[in-house]
Symmetry: C2
Subunit: 152 residues, 2 copies
């Protein structure tokens, strides 16, 4: 629990760091593949039914390719990159909004030279993400653009 202090000023707007907001590992286990991602929890707990997190993918890094029943509301706060949402590959820049529907494969990738930082709103009560099986990966790779994107 990060806590919800009344005022946590931005410490560095260029790098998205806040007072009292620790920079955490993206995932607490190493059971899922990802690369160079940090997590900061901006609001959570108490009477709030959602969390607001800030994720930052370092240049060349990526989040886990996964799906789950819960949905994400995403706003890019910093940098550039792309995301896979189902069969779409979106080019992302600052302030773009992305909605990840339920049970849709998705992954975020930063550009090679700049990070991709984004806010992500999610229900506090939610299911655990699912990783693709070998058969599901093969189905995703059947689309050459997706195969090039997921690189696995």
């Amino acid at each position: 629990m990060t806590g919800n202090s009344i005022f946590r000023p931005a410490e560095e707007t260029a790098t998205c760091r806040w007072s009292e907001v620790p920079v955490l590992a993206y995932k607490e286990t190493d059971s899922a593949p990802f690369r160079e991602v940090t997590r900061q929890v901006l609001f959570e707990g108490g009477p709030l039914a959602c969390q607001l997190r800030y994720f930052e993918v370092a240049p060349g890094g990526h989040t886990t390719l996964e799906r789950h029943a819960h949905v994400h509301g995403v706003m890019v706060l910093r940098g550039h990159g792309h995301c896979l949402v189902g069969d779409r590959i979106l080019s992302l820049a600052t302030q773009d909004l992305v909605y990840i529907p339920a049970l849709i494969w998705h992954q975020f990738r930063a550009a090679a030279e700049v990070p991709l930082g984004f806010l992500c709103m999610v229900n506090t009560e939610r299911d655990r993400p699912e990783l693709p099986s070998p058969i599901e990966l093969a189905a995703l790779r059947a689309d050459p653009a997706i195969a090039a994107f997921i690189q696995t």
Copy 2:
């Protein structure tokens, strides 16, 4: 209902406008005092238990002085200003985080020369805001700094 399209790119990052996101009146009734505030709903509905809204207070404008049982998670996205949270007056700049606890009087004011734009996360299920009674206003005004802030 704004809808949650998968991709709604930023149209103008400097002025915080998005594709498919209409710029709405701050409140749908004129029963509460406010000045020069717009509202854009970025994510809402479906399985999401919260809404994410973007409010923008024009230079010199202000939101309603109010309180309610639901809480707010706020991040400044643009400009400068101040907010009253209980007995505190906070100076706000880009990316600052503000948590408005339950049943605390609060109001946002933009600086005289620049707007104050902020994201606000709130539970979808929530109570209606309450305005201060004359007795409550007098109690707020007993603090000279708060009296100067609320200007009513």
